[in-house]
Symmetry: C2
Subunit: 154 residues, 2 copies
Amino acid sequence: MLDRIELKPIGIVKTKAVGKEVTDRSNISQIVLHQILAEALDGIEEFSHLFVLFWMHEISKEESKKLKAHPRGRSNMPLLGIFATRTPYRPNPIGLTLVEVLKVEDNTITVRGLDAVNGTPILDIKPFDYWDIAENARVPDWWMKLEKEKTRAH
Amino acid sequence: MLDRIELKPIGIVKTKAVGKEVTDRSNISQIVLHQILAEALDGIEEFSHLFVLFWMHEISKEESKKLKAHPRGRSNMPLLGIFATRTPYRPNPIGLTLVEVLKVEDNTITVRGLDAVNGTPILDIKPFDYWDIAENARVPDWWMKLEKEKTRAH
């Protein structure tokens, strides 16, 4: 099996959000790609939504070794395996967020809903399509409970 | 900006599919994690669907430098920037696929719908929830046209 995999960021997140405010779904960010990749965006404006894959660079090696977490760090929520949550503390701290496209211009995409802080390295961008929807998906009770609080339930 | 990012696979895909047959949505695979990560799956069985992030290890360095592609390699489809498609030819060839959970046992998840060949390194697993759905998402005409052919339109 492959032992190590090496990635290179394709660009960076620019946003005024630097802390917890990134979890606000109305947050607007710019995804600024390396100039050489600008033409790799041709046609992306025809999609209303994208998945952004980013590297959560603020997670330490120690934090990425955790195997269990409470959703959103809430001790009144069950202690779960990290793969049953969207916690940033995971072996490969890759973030995955669905965002709305507001504007595409040259090497920059302006999006709404990206929960990545200013300066976050971007790994990939994928257009959202109907293969990405699970109809009638089942989620746990704890998820529904957090959802009622109107915050990201990860 | 970060120059290079190093990942370690968390496990591997086991499936009978080794070629184009992986694009069949009914394909069943096993995701086998490193034994030490087994407890990081606790609670994942409460979700019906997961996103699997995997490393498309068969893509060469040369192939990952492409900036343009025809969806599904079809020359009668528009030539697009690779970020407007789900082509495996991308700077960081990370695959992202929504799968259905069939069974979770120890360090192994049996899933339906994973389009990754046997031996593919797994990077991350994320539970699918309602924040991952874009209601009324807009997709291009070419996507709808391919979709009518009942195959993956990437």
